[in-house]
């Protein structure tokens, strides 16, 4: 009789423990299922990045000072992200030895000239905008990321501000994806 009672108690405990384990397992599964959509997409990684000069674009003439300002601002902003050990400039011979180098290609798509005077007077019109297609390309030529980024200067400031705005937006995309 005592033997039977002991066995019954043992079975009961086993059943309780099994139930708890099952519940824990199910809840863990539920949590992981719920968390799955929130997991970020797989991030890109590279030890170094090289920014090429803006590519020529058909039928669109952009003054060289604008191109140079865009380029220099982008180099600055990419360095600020601290995502890469080195940010190489176009033509830098030492970049050739980096095996996981990512190259940034810039192709201007459109621009609209605004007016600083209008911006200062109305603060709603007179925005200057510059749209550039940005490609991040791996060493084997695969396009890892492509975005059309628009730099704008809406309120106060020179058109130069549009180039800085563009560079900041590209840096934000890099922070998101790398």
């Amino acid at each position: 009789m005592n033997q039977l009672t002991e066995n019954a108690v043992r079975y009961r405990w086993t059943a309780v423990l099994g139930g708890v384990a099952l519940l824990l397992g199910l809840s863990m599964l539920g949590l992981s299922v719920a968390a799955a959509p929130q997991q970020p997409a797989q991030k890109l990684s590279a030890s170094a990045i090289q920014v090429l000069r803006t590519q020529p674009s058909e039928g669109l003439t952009i003054p060289e000072d604008f191109r140079a300002a865009t380029y220099e601002h982008l180099i600055d902003e990419l360095e600020k992200t601290k995502k890469f050990q080195k940010v190489y400039r176009d033509g830098d011979r030492t970049a050739a030895s980096v095996t996981d180098l990512v190259t940034v290609k810039l192709t201007p798509e459109a621009f609209k000239e605004g007016s600083q005077k209008k911006r200062e007077v109305t603060t709603v019109s007179g925005a200057t905008s510059l749209k550039i297609n940005v490609q991040f390309v791996s060493k084997d030529g695969k396009v890892l990321l492509e975005k059309s980024v628009e730099g704008k200067v809406r309120f106060f400031g020179e058109n130069l501000g549009a180039t800085k705005d563009f560079a900041k937006k590209v840096a934000a995309a890099v922070n998101e994806s790398f």
């Binding site: 039928g59 003439t61 060289e64 140079a68 220099e72 190489y88 176009d90 609209k112």
Partner: protein
């Protein structure tokens, strides 16, 4: 004692002539200074907008050419230089690259939406000089300077005379003229 009016007139005239003769050297030397062209190798009150290592964006200083290099001097501690031999191109104002389409031809202005003029970095009238150069590893740099009026072209010419390279550029398109009604 009577003073003759003729005597007064002659003494005033004499005083005037003496004053003119005394001040002539000062007056003419001033005019000579104004006519003398400014030194193309040194431009003070220049703003470095961006692109020089060690110089903060927008710093003002003196741009000068000496010892085979273009120097930007903010103060004795803050300075930068670009060897002239490393300069690959110099652009003034809104000039663009000629090979913009890759076909080596001059392209006409096309603006996708709005506008009618080339996009300018600055809305007010300033003289902008963009100096493109390579560093010791061959990396491309673009330094943008804003110079006082009338000083950019002589500076560019002087740099070219010292060995800086330039290519043919597309000039900025002219300002649109108002339509004339018949």
């Amino acid at each position: 004692m009577m003073i003759n009016s003729r005597q007064v007139k002659s003494s005033v005239t004499g005083f005037g002539i003496a004053l003119f003769l005394l001040s002539a050297p000062v007056l003419f030397s001033g005019q000579a200074d104004k006519k003398a062209p400014p030194d193309p190798s040194k431009v003070e009150d220049t703003q470095c907008v961006i692109g020089l290592e060690g110089i903060k964006h927008g710093n003002k200083g003196t741009l000068s050419v000496e010892g085979g290099a273009l120097h930007f001097l903010k103060d004795t501690k803050t300075k930068a230089e670009i060897p002239i031999s490393s300069i690959t191109d110099i652009y003034l104002g809104n000039e663009s690259r000629q090979d913009i389409t890759g076909a080596g031809k001059v392209v006409t202005m096309a603006i996708p939406y709005g506008g009618g003029r080339v996009l300018s970095l600055f809305s007010h009238k300033v003289e902008v000089m963009t100096v493109e150069y390579t560093d010791s590893n061959g990396g491309f740099h673009g330094a943008i300077f804003v110079l006082p009026e009338g000083r950019a072209t002589p500076m560019k010419d002087f740099l070219v005379s010292q060995g800086a390279k330039t290519t043919t550029h597309v000039p900025a398109p002219p300002e649109p003229t108002q339509e004339q009604k018949p």
